[in-house]
């Protein structure tokens, strides 16, 4: 769990190498910024970007525009600040420089996620992530926000499973690392392109709720169709990069089973 920092006390200079792009269709370029970091200050990538924004001058000494990025809670619960750091996708708020760049002269490369269209610099458009939640009807179909008594009772064990699945913050890490999930700029194809681990796992979450189950056939139809759970290639990168440690591969297995049973049932009822 605990990753001890190997950074020596004192101040060191590191380089932030950032892939930049002024907007959709604009050329990509790399810019490097020099940054002074003092060990033990808890400096993370977001703080580094804030420093650069205040004085956007590259290592070559030329003035540039401040880097654009997405962030939110900075506590790893909102899912906004997903980027590719040194080649791997992760939340940047929890990327501490004392850990990822402990030595003088270390270079940290920052790239936007590659599976979503770049808006500008490190900011990408992840609308498709939320669209995929609609595809699997990721909600409990309640009658409304009126007081109609308590919800269904459930055991602590059931709650624990649902809670873990419900911590998914739609950050997109599982999609970025997935070899089967690819960029799809044309939203017309979103309904047939691979859903990805997060949506499959959300389908499992709502299928395991007493009221949410009502929509299970609809969700399983979506999971059986093009872009459904069958498109998973079992590379299992999703579960490795999930910042919330959600058992995504178990969800894929569970939904694989549900889809199998659903298909057999449909075969015999000819629906």
């Amino acid at each position: 769990m605990h990753t001890p920092s190997t950074a020596k006390p004192g101040t060191r200079t590191i380089t932030m190498k950032i892939k930049r792009c002024d907007g959709p269709g604009k050329p990509e370029r790399w810019e490097s910024f020099s940054l002074s970091v003092t060990t033990g200050q808890g400096m993370n990538i977001i703080a580094a970007l804030q420093v650069i924004a205040a004085k956007p001058v590259t290592v070559e000494g030329s003035r540039t525009t401040p880097v654009v990025w997405d962030s939110g809670c900075l506590e790893e619960v909102c899912g906004a600040c997903t980027m590719v750091v040194n080649g791997k996708v992760r939340q940047t708020c929890s990327a501490l420089l004392d850990q990822i760049a402990p030595n003088d002269g270390d270079v940290v490369t920052l790239e936007p996620m590659s599976k979503f269209p770049v808006v500008r610099d490190l900011s990408v458009n992840r609308q498709r992530v939320f669209h995929n939640l609609k595809r699997v009807s990721a909600w409990v179909p309640i009658d409304g926000t009126y007081a109609l008594g308590p919800g269904p009772r459930e055991t602590p064990a059931e709650q624990e499973v649902r809670y873990t699945l419900s911590t998914c913050m739609s950050c997109g890490c599982c999609l970025e690392a997935c070899p089967q999930f690819n960029q799809e700029p044309d939203s017309k194809n979103w309904d047939t392109a691979f859903l990805g681990a997060h949506a499959i796992s959300q389908a499992r979450l709502f299928n395991s709720h007493a009221t949410g189950k009502e929509l299970a056939p609809q969700r399983l139809d979506a999971l059986s169709g093009p872009g459904g759970v069958g498109d998973c290639g079992n590379a299992q990168n999703c579960v490795k990069v999930c910042p919330k440690k959600i058992p995504l591969t178990e969800s894929i297995g569970a939904m694989g089973r549900a889809v199998t049973i659903h298909a057999v049932k449909k075969l015999f009822t000819m629906k």
Partner: protein, 293 residues
Amino acid sequence: MSNTPVSQSSVSFLDRHHLLLRRLHSLSGIVPIGVFLIAHLVTNSSIMWGKVGLRGDGADMSLAEGGAFYFHKEVVWINNSIPHLLLIELTLWAAIAFHSVLGFVYAFSGRSNTRNYGYGANWRYTLQRISGYIGILFIFYHVATLRWGWSFLVPGGTTWSHHYAASTLALSLRGGTEITLAGVLVSAFYFVGITLLVFHFANGLWTSAITWGLTVSQRAQQQWGYACAAIGTGLMLAAWASLLGFFLLDPVQATRVEQAYYQKYGQPIPKRHHLTDQNITPLKTEPSTLGKN
């Protein structure tokens, strides 16, 4: 917006039967292809362990002779005793064609990323696709040269015959009576091909359990992973044993064994189309202590 139903006609055949095709692809890899692979490798590896299989019957034979004798016996049994062999064969070819064509379609939809995410399962994902590509190439060569008689692709030009299965196979792999460079290359290709195909099968066995939902928990996936690794290791040993056995087999000696087989069971010796320039006499063997075959 999102819930607009997509009209049936505008959807491709692949999309309309998405799940069915996915599942048939998965199933076809196990039955019949996987089952055949097991049978095929077990039979072929008998070139190494056949003497043991002969029990007392092969007491007067060397290890290589016993292997060749047992293997030959198996081949004859397959060709003479399995009913509807051609139908089985056609089914198998159809299954391989189906599995590989869909496999290509599916594999092309992915983008390997082991460079940044070098996890074990991700490497297996990538290798599954590579092994599919090379594997189908190998199967094509294997079937074309040994089954369809495309002898122009065989070093030394040997035409494989099930009447002389061991000797003609040894000739094909060695590139002649003696081992040639071309033979080494062909055998190396066989090594790569069979290794990848065994991996492809074992890993496919592992992923199919997740696909069908047989293994759900991380622990179940891990345990079944060990089981698949064991199955894969066993088949790998069989595959390598087969290759090594035939590569080291002396074709002349093998032919003598094959002739001895016919003699021993009182069958006419089939006409030989290989090693026609040599006068090969059947190996001397003791009368069989086993039942007549």
